[in-house]
């Protein structure tokens, strides 16, 4: 087991800036990958983890070049090898599973051809044997009916299926080393858990070594034997996976683990200040210095070396690791969220249904929408003032659609959305008056796209102030500075453009813009999913603080159940545009729960090697909600029979006030789930 298959020695990769300076993306990386082991490389965006993985295949992206060091495979340096020789190693000895299989499969070639191509290149099989092998491979990655899948084009498969095809393609050459670059990011939680389980199975089954690159400690925890933590182009911690996750002795890893919300712990995790330095920012000292809780004077000017600790089999890059060694466990402390819930009802959705169906000409004339099976149906929710309610579900569950309708971007097909008990908001934007528009504000998922790149921060925040309150001159400026301070950004940010800000800073600007309108309700659409883990906690804390200060109501949409657990008072679980379960968050996260909630909770990945995901249902993708009966019938593992297929299930209310929509009596549900 100790045979080394890939040796990275003093590797530095970088690019030349316009001024001619050498800017390093990877700095002096050395590590070994042993036969049969799975190594997780974890780091935030920009830490150089993907560049490292690609270098292990002898691939350096256009614009980057190797400054020094080597990647040794079978005692030859891949980085100095000719393309012709690399072609014999890539796919055959070392294979890659890409991040986004949807974009990594060539769109004009059929699935079967793309796998066949790998087989042609890397095996001596004859045509019929290859056909046989393609079916075998597709079977191995558990794709249904391989013969028909092989004849499809990539765009005809779902995201999870595409990812499986990519795995099959990588396995075609029976490689010794598999490199996985964020292979599950972008997949739904349940799909992600299934793909990870598959990868674990393959690692055991074939004895292949794997390098698993991800920003997600939860996913890394499930697959790796050893973990490498990267920060700003350097390895800061390397060691056995359990030790690193349970007793991290580097302050960055320690802080990272503390800032991840956990299912078992309600409340907001502590946040790490600041963000990762940009590549090329010159620093003499430790690159983590300004965010570190354990830093000393010497960290400022001296860069610590990676130190190998024999007794722990761990390498660490920190002067002060000893003080963390005594602090044996990651004691996660959370800031309990204060509920500022008031009795007053602020928004009421009753019998709301929304359809994306194209209107027929007659319907357009009559100004109605006729669709007997709309995307979203039967939504009844009362939202109280000061509440944070979360809508959760996988992609296609209709959670964002509901937000759009509340915001007025999408007309409802039926039902009533009522604000403050008397104002009807069922109409779309054009029919709302300015005040109706002001009271509801949106924060989007991706601040890169929601902030106008040609406006300065000042202009961005000024817009709602001018529009709704007609502010001008000094008063306007004072308000902008005020808002910036509230989101913990200094006055000097006013003249900056979005591209000059980091991801977290951009999202803060978006938050400030939403609060500028002094809204009653803020709709948060996956506001933290585009952010790095260490920044996510800070934004969540900020949102909570602002809510307590202003008494705002949040409608929070997320696919991340741990984040939802951390911030929300109440949770509504949606499947295929229908409500499954609504209740106080502490109860939704406990049993008994709707079978779908159970599936979702089971699939959550925690950064703890001892908590394994429970895979209850298959990760099939349904394109349309069923015409009648329960929305979850297609995937439910405890389906009762015809009753589920024909009748819409009734609402059942648990002792704690949790509403579950299921035909199975609560007692039965509870009994099965506890066991």
């Amino acid at each position: 087991m100790t045979e080394i298959i890939q040796k990275v020695k003093n590797l530095s990769i970088g690019f030349k800036s316009k001024k001619g300076e050498e800017i390093l993306i990877l700095r002096n990386i050395s590590t070994n990958i042993k036969k049969g082991e799975t190594v997780g490389i974890v780091g935030e965006s920009g830490s150089g983890k993907s560049t490292l993985a690609l270098a292990m295949m002898g691939y350096v992206k256009h614009g980057l070049y190797t400054i020094g060091g080597e990647c040794e495979f079978n005692s030859s340096n891949l980085l100095k090898m000719k393309n012709r020789d690399l072609e014999k190693i890539r796919g055959r000895k070392i294979a890659m599973i890409p991040q986004n299989a949807g974009q990594a499969l060539t769109p004009n070639l059929k699935i079967g051809y793309q796998i066949d191509e790998a087989l042609q290149l890397h095996s001596d099989l004859k045509e019929e044997e290859r056909e046989q092998k393609i079916s075998e491979l597709l079977n191995k990655v558990r794709l249904p009916s391989p013969e028909t899948i092989a004849l499809r084009y990539p765009h005809e498969l779902s995201g999870g299926q595409q990812q499986r095809v990519a795995v099959a393609m990588a396995l075609a050459g029976t490689p010794d080393l598999l490199l996985l670059d964020e292979p599950t990011t972008g997949l739904d939680v349940t799909t992600q858990a299934h793909v990870l389980e598959l990868l674990n199975f393959i690692a055991k089954d074939t004895g292949t070594s794997m390098v698993y690159v991800s920003h997600d400690l939860g996913a890394i925890a499930q697959v790796s034997d050893r973990i490498i933590v990267m920060y700003s182009g350097e390895i800061v911690l390397e060691g056995p996976s359990r030790d690193i996750l349970k007793k991290p002795i580097h302050p960055y890893t320690y802080g990272l683990l503390k800032s991840i919300p956990k299912l078992s712990l309600a409340g907001l995790p502590q946040s790490m200040p600041g963000s990762q330095p940009q590549p090329g920012t010159m620093h003499r000292g430790c690159s983590f210095f300004d965010r570190c809780d354990f830093s000393e004077e010497k960290c400022k000017n001296n860069s610590p070396q990676l130190e190998y600790l024999e007794e722990l089999n761990t390498s660490v890059r920190c002067f002060n690791y000893k003080s963390l060694m005594n602090d044996s466990q990651v004691n996660q402390t959370v800031n309990k969220i204060k509920t500022s819930l008031q009795d007053k009802e602020i928004l009421n959705l009753s019998e709301v249904s929304i359809s994306y169906a194209k209107q027929k000409l007659l319907d357009q004339v009559l100004n109605r929408i006729s669709d007997d099976n709309p995307t979203v149906k039967d939504i009844n929710i009362n939202i109280k003032k000061g509440e944070t309610i979360a809508l959760v579900g996988e992609s296609g569950s209709g959670k964002s659609t509901i937000l759009k309708s509340i915001a007025g971007l999408l007309r409802t097909k039926g039902g009533i959305i009522k604000f403050d008990q008397n104002r009807n908001l069922s109409s779309d934007l054009k029919e709302r008056d300015p005040n109706d528009l002001r009271i509801i504000q949106l924060i989007f998922q991706n601040p890169d796209e929601s902030l106008n790149p040609n406006h300065t921060v000042e202009e961005i925040i000024a817009q709602p102030l001018k529009l709704y309150f007609g502010l001008k001159g000094e008063e306007l400026k004072k308000n902008i500075i005020d808002l910036l301070q509230k989101v913990r950004l200094g006055e000097f940010y006013m003249s900056r453009y979005p591209r000059q800000l980091s991801g977290g800073e951009k999202q803060r600007v978006a938050v400030a813009r939403a609060f500028a309108a002094k809204p009653d309700i803020i709709l948060c659409d996956e506001v933290t999913s585009a952010l790095d883990v260490s920044v996510q906690a800070a934004v969540l804390n900020l949102l909570q603080q602002l809510k307590e200060d202003f008494g705002t109501t949040y409608i929070f949409v997320s696919h991340d159940l741990a984040v939802v657990r951390a911030i929300s008072d109440r949770v509504a679980v949606l499947y295929q545009g229908r409500l499954c379960e609504v209740g106080p968050s502490k109860d939704v996260y406990q049993f008994p729960s709707h079978p779908y909630t159970e599936v979702l909770l089971g699939a959550v990945l925690e950064p703890d090697p001892d908590i394994k995901p429970k895979l209850v249902a298959e990760d099939i993708v349904e394109e349309k909600p069923p015409q009648k009966g329960c929305s979850f019938q297609g995937r439910c593992s405890r389906i009762l029979g015809d009753i589920c297929k024909n009748e819409v299930p009734p609402w059942q209310i648990t002792n704690s006030g949790n509403s579950i929509r299921c035909h199975i009596p609560l007692k039965e549900l509870q009994k099965d789930q506890v066991n």
Binding site: Y59, L86, E87, R90, T106, A118, H155
Partner: protein, 318 residues
């Protein structure tokens, strides 16, 4: 799929109808008409009336439009004023000549453009790219009338290799025409090829940077196999539409070039009939040019549909 094709064809026909209406109304609004132009200073009284009766101009405009349109659909565009011969007969050889010129430019231009575009993209920022790109950008910026004049000066006058202007009759045979068309073809093809080569280059570069090409490299696919299997089919697909637009736009270039070289094609006829106020011919030309434009674009759309698996399956599913 079939529905889509029919829809596109219908839209094309509607476009043509609108074009015909606009040209008809346009010629109506202009002061003077066929008879005043024909009779010149005698255009008054009895003679003018007689002319109107003879040409059928004394009936209301919409009736004249309908009868013109009905005939035009059958290929009969009426009589040209200048020669008093059927426009159909005037157009016939002209169309043939222009078609020879344009198709020669296209058949030479497209392959060259593809090769140049692909070469520059694959050797991006290296010597072949820098050299070819400089030339193509240069060729793109010179208008046809300048490049045509320069070609005449250098090749026909200084070097005396080829005839500078075309002085053959309109209905000359193809082989007699051949030496005459070389220079006009070069003049037209140059700017068009340069444009297309740039488009192909950027399209190929974009695909080369895509994740699936990176994946193909990491899969160990040999370079040229990767280029032909993974890059080109995806890069050339969007280029089809651009090529069609360039060809349609080439019509304008043909007009200019034909005039410079005195080439007996449609383009020169356009200029001639406008300066002669030969309104029926102008109308006929407008319709013909518009139909060429519409059909080239239609063809390009259909080709993209046929070749793109994504669009194809989408249509079938619906």
């Amino acid at each position: 799929m079939l529905f889509l094709i029919i829809k596109r064809i219908l839209l094309g026909l509607i476009t043509l109808f609108i074009v015909s209406l606009i040209t008809f109304v346009g010629t109506e609004i202009l002061p003077g008409d066929a008879c005043t132009t024909y009779l010149e200073r005698q255009a008054f009284g009895e003679q003018l009336e007689a002319c109107y009766r003879r040409l059928g101009l004394n009936v209301p405009a919409y009736e004249r439009y309908v009868s013109w349109a009905v005939n035009a659909i059958q290929g009969d565009f009426g009589y040209s004023l200048s020669g008093e011969m059927p426009i159909k007969e005037v157009l016939g050889p002209r169309i043939k000549n222009s078609l020879v010129l344009a198709s020669a430019a296209i058949f030479i231009g497209i392959p060259i453009a593809l090769i140049l575009g692909i070469v520059t993209a694959l050797w991006r920022d290296k010597l072949p790219d820098v050299a070819i790109s400089t030339v193509t950008i240069f060729a793109m910026t010179i208008p046809e009338f300048i490049s045509a004049t320069l070609l005449i000066l250098i090749i026909a006058i200084w070097l005396e290799w080829l005839p500078g202007i075309v002085i053959v009759p309109t209905d000359v045979s193809f082989f007699e025409l051949l030496p005459n068309i070389i220079l006009p073809v070069i003049a037209i093809a140059m700017i068009m090829t340069a444009h297309m080569a740039r488009m192909v280059r950027s399209s190929v570069i974009q695909v080369m940077a895509s994740e699936y090409v990176q994946m193909a490299i990491l899969k160990g696919v040999p370079y040229w196999k990767m280029v032909f299997k993974h890059v080109l089919p995806n890069a050339l697909l969007p280029a089809i539409n651009v090529v069609a637009l360039t060809i349609a736009w080439l019509l304008g270039g043909v007009v200019v070039t034909e005039v410079v070289f005195n080439y007996p094609g449609l383009g020169r006829l356009v200029i001639e009939s406008i300066s002669n106020r030969d309104l029926p011919t102008v109308q006929a030309l407008a319709i013909i040019l518009a139909s060429i434009y519409v059909s080239i674009n239609l063809l390009a759309d259909l080709m993209t549909l046929m070749l793109n698996p994504r669009l194809k399956t989408l249509q079938i599913r619906k």
